[in-house]
Symmetry: C2
Subunit: 682 residues, 2 copies
């Protein structure tokens, strides 16, 4: 390059340099380190290097671009345009040559490290930098005078053409190498995977010629109840499909500890559960690939987030040690594995699997994923992040320090162990209000947008009926009972005589509140019983005590903001949660929902390989607090039993506060409707 | 250390240093880099660190050792001596403390890198430095306040106690980690494997407490006809058992090219052959472990040497490309694999497999193993190394340069395609002499030490009978026919009238020589036919032409010495080979046998991890010569057809020259008898 050579300015990067006439734009971009994609290595066949030259005056860059600043369209571009169409103004960067000073814009879709912006403003942007990428290469044909193997010549081609210093291929790849090379006339596309701890790239797949079928990854949130997967395009970061499936381990026990018990009581029980969940993941992978209309063998990466028991059972490790103090994990660090090691036969046989690290014996890779997504360690103010589920994972922290614990809330928040409780499904009461004057309830059920006192509600719910109360419904019901003065601070429901309403009915030696009675028509009679109140009190006390324990450790008695994470967290009314004393009081606008933050963390680790190293480092720095051995946890637990607010702390909010749900489902499915059923089951 | 502290001198290394009183001998050895073994890390339980202190005057070292130069026997040593017995004069290096100037001898069995001396003086010494070693560690128990996983605490223990910077464990190891740690009360022995290309050690196995069951490896010579395995103690280098099994691929074709054809003509045929050989290897591993009375799961390493077609079929790669020019290998470099990738289920599931590199499409890992064993690249004189089998692998070289080729000799040298030919087995004629005067033959058969004209021969062979001629027998027969003047230079057998012996009988339009006729008793009639002579001429011409081609490339017309390798090579009479013109003429004492050099190469790579890098480098430096494309090969082949020597070139040698056979079977089995049968089938 010399100053008398034409000046090339790239936007948006602003990188610039002088290049001799005839230099292809792609070459100039590479020399300047401009982020311009190319799979075929400049052969004019992949079209990834499309650029848009600008013409005329560019005062900002001090350049005037003449119409002949780039070489004329050549045959390769003309053929490409004819066959597939090139957008107006676009050129192929590998074909267009610099002939004069020029300003060249690299559109987002031509950038390798393009950014994927998630919907919610609060959430982090994902920079695409996956562990697996495609490379098109021309391999030397075999030569008897220089008898190297085909693999060695492929390695040399990748070194010469892509500066890949070294590759590794497993036997299953070697078995197909020779026919594919010959089918492609020694021009092939390879998918190379290089994890954050690898110094050698692995050949995950090889295709004859230029592979244009894409490359995909699965981000899997493996919950005790549901396995949720998000099929992600590893080139664009786009979610092509999301799907969920029941965790079939449920037949061995509803909650984690009952599954650990099953493993302890039944020889080989852990292997049964491992088999079951791996089968389910294969089924899910097949379904999601079918839904997205792609070949499942194009799935070359998978990231898992899960709690420690699910983690061990996925890996085939007996979780017995997690059922008893000191709750020793077999391994706490992240794992990078072959899909074959997990018997994931539905996806590419050479796919790589990344499992996020666990934080502690009770605080799993799902909590680590929340930390990756929500980044408490980068927060200016003190954030309390609660991932609500059967166990609550709790993170508290800011830039200076992050603490984590897990609290055994039990399944009450999910509608289990509640007399009229049910899982979130059409027909379930998900929101409820009790008029403080009349003490009469009105409610909303899943599957219908209307409240029960609105016109058309009964017609619209005729099919599903009113079947029970789900998690968010029971939380609201208990809070509303308190606000309406039907229940005292200790959680005791008053009698009809005490409260002046026939809705308070005797139930054994205590009272219950009747929400809906269809028993005359053979339907359900839905009440909130004293037992239900106790179950919710236990659950919310555990959650609150966990949060308080972290606050004690941190030496604070309030937090600046609260983030409710978890699929279920997205549906909790912040107001009612605070009435109940589930979470410490903060201004209502300081309560946000992170949606399925664990799933988002999984997707971040899938799309950005550096995030894997980041979360490993983060997890090491987190202060782990074990609730089971802290005497203060019991104190807080007991102290938190009461339901503090006897009046609505936010009377100005007439309607239920429905938090925005920045689910990372980019297909735009809303939180309501059919999608909810799956996502609620975390 | 200060000069006023006691002086410690170690022998045989001569390393010396001053150490404060009370320093354990093991500690002093480690600080000085003295090669003193220890598996338990100085806890007085493994007894690997036994040393012998010397007392009195050591003028050579300038030291006088007082009786109290070491601390008195302690309880640990006394207990050890009581339980297992300590040789007189021995101490445990981890228990005995330096109290005064002392000279300490490290006996060979206490040295980590002890040397294994093979029987033959010409062969290299193997320094024990296997990829897998045992380490005893005490692991921290889990602690809720610092919730790392068990694997991470094991890693930390290995780092702290053994300076192992990093470990890796696969899922199958993780599944057993927790119960084993607890069974051993957090004291465990691990087998760590670190291949020559690895920067992280893998945990191959873990045992509770101190593991004293040993650690084993298999060196496998995978031939077209036989699979031979040598079970080697990875701590001592001792061969515990050797065994062979037929290669079951024989049912798909006797020679390599017919197996390649089978794969080409039958879809899935390559997979059938892969399945067959892997099954055979598993059977062999089970048998050999049983023979040595060890648990097969203690076999943690396996090294394979084989020709390129066997190599590809072992790996599950269709060998079709090896059947046609340009004979492209799928991969030529060495491979380090999991045993599971080769479905070697009989041995430890986490065993590692090393496959030597191939030199070229026709010159395999077996030839590389010969190069590793015979080291032509370190030879002062020009050595021709011939590995005789169905294909002959030929190496020519010295310090300055090594060349290699393969020559298609066909199976005649192994007794196949010979009218009375048979494999080497009891009853087969293996040596023969024809009296130049009487033209009468006398011979020896496998299974009997006597010649047929010696007393007792017929009684001793009554059971087996005289069944046919094996490879070495036919070579001698053809050479003797020439020496006895019964055959001309072109290889034509004379008639009875021409030769004056009734042993020359008409057979079609040519003549045959009758060696033995038991047809009257219903037994075989053993002759050497004109067709047999032609088959041997073709084979020997191919072998000679290959050697000549390398000599041409090297620009020489003679070599300084000839090494006959291969199990079969060990039985060829050098004199007769030269009469026949199989090998270039050299003084008879310059012909040596390397025995099963390929198998020895496999064992070197098994016992010494650095040898793996060495052979990779060597193979890259070898000049590959492809016989199939060199016109000169055909010229040499045609020119070598004649049988040059019409008289015995070594008349002084009255009896057959039986070359010493430095087989690496250290159990001392001789070449003759039952052992021969296995080893001959290469």
């Amino acid at each position: 390059m010399s100053d008398t050579d034409p000046l090339v300015v790239f936007t948006p990067s602003g990188k610039r340099g002088h290049f001799p006439k005839g230099t292809p734009v792609l070459t100039a971009a590479r020399q300047l380190g401009v982020d311009l994609d190319s799979v075929c290595g400049g052969r004019g066949i992949c079209s990834k290097c499309q650029i848009t030259p600008g013409y005329g005056e560019f005062a900002k860059h001090g350049v005037t671009v003449q119409p002949d600043a780039l070489s004329e369209w050549n045959k390769v571009e003309a053929r490409y345009d004819e066959k597939r169409g090139l957008k107006p103004g676009r050129r192929l960067g590998c074909q267009a040559q610099v002939m004069g000073d020029v300003v060249i814009d690299v559109p987002p879709e031509s950038q390798v490290h393009r950014q994927v912006v998630r919907k919610a403003a609060s959430a982090r942007v994902i920079e695409m930098d996956p562990a697996t990428r495609l490379y098109f290469v021309e391999v030397d044909e075999p030569d008897m005078h220089e008898p190297t193997g085909d693999l060695e010549r492929l390695a040399r081609a990748l070194k010469d053409q892509w500066e890949i210093p070294q590759i590794r291929a497993d036997l299953t790849l070697l078995t197909k190498l020779q026919p594919v090379l010959r089918k492609g006339k020694f021009q092939v596309t390879v998918a190379l995977n290089k994890g954050h701890r690898d110094d050698v790239a692995r050949v995950t797949e090889i295709w004859p010629g230029l592979h244009e079928g894409g490359l995909y990854g699965l981000a899997i949130d493996l919950g005790s109840t549901t396995v949720a997967a998000h099929l992600t395009d590893l080139e664009t970061g786009e979610v092509k499909a999301s799907s969920g499936i029941m965790n079939p381990q449920i037949r061995f026990g509803e909650d984690l500890m009952s599954r650990v018990s099953y493993a302890m009581m039944n020889p080989g029980g852990d292997r049964e559960m491992t088999r079951a969940v791996r089968d389910a993941i294969n089924t899910l992978a097949e379904e999601i690939a079918k839904e997205a209309e792609i070949d499942a063998s194009l799935i070359v990466e998978t990231v898992f987030v899960c709690n420690p028991v699910m983690h061990h059972l996925l890996l085939g490790i007996d979780p017995v040690e997690l059922g008893q103090a000191p709750f020793a994990l077999a391994t706490s660090e992240s794992l990078t594995l072959d899909a074959a090691a997990l018997e994931l036969s539905a996806i590419n046989p050479r796919a790589r699997v990344f499992v996020l690290p666990c934080i502690a014996g009770h605080v799993g890779a799902d909590a680590a994923a929340v930390a990756l997504s929500e980044e408490p360690g980068k927060s200016e103010d003190l954030a309390l992040i609660v991932d609500v589920g059967t166990n609550a994972e709790i993170l508290l922290g800011d830039k200076s320090r992050v603490l984590a614990c897990s609290s055994p809330t039990g399944p009450a928040f999910e509608g289990a162990q509640i007399s009229s409780g049910q899982r979130a499904a059409p027909g379930a009461i998900e929101a409820i209000r009790i008029d403080p004057e009349t003490k009469e309830p009105r409610f909303r059920v899943i599957g219908c947008e209307k409240w029960s006192d609105e016109d058309g509600f009964w017609e619209e719910t005729a099919t599903t009926g009113i079947t029970g109360i789900c998690g968010s419904g029971i939380i609201e019901a208990v809070a509303e009972l308190r606000i309406a003065g039907l229940m005292d601070e200790s959680g005791l429901i008053g009698s009809a005589a005490q409260t002046g309403t026939e809705r308070c009915v005797p139930e054994g030696r205590t009272n219950a509140y009747l929400i809906h009675d269809a028993s005359a028509e053979g339907g359900p009679r839905i009440t909130v019983t004293q037992g239900d109140i106790r179950a919710i009190q236990l659950a919310k006390s555990a959650l609150y005590a966990g949060a308080r324990l972290l606050m004690d450790e941190r030496g604070v008695d309030k937090v600046d903001r609260v983030v409710l994470a978890g699929a279920f967290g997205a549906h909790i009314s912040a107001k009612h949660a605070m009435v109940l004393g589930m979470i410490p009081d903060v201004p209502l606008e300081k309560v946000t929902s992170a949606g399925n933050a664990a799933g988002t963390g999984a997707r971040i680790a899938l799309c950005n390989v550096a995030a894997r190293a980041e979360i490993e480092k983060t997890v090491r720095q987190i202060t782990k607090v074990e609730t089971a051995i802290e005497p203060k946890f019991q104190e807080h637990f007991v102290a938190a039993n009461a339901i503090p607010h006897k009046t609505d702390p936010f009377p100005e909010l007439a309607k239920v506060v429905s938090l925005p749900n920045p689910s990372f489902n980019t297909k735009g499915e809303d939180a309501d409707g059919g999608g909810r059923r799956r996502r609620r089951r975390g």
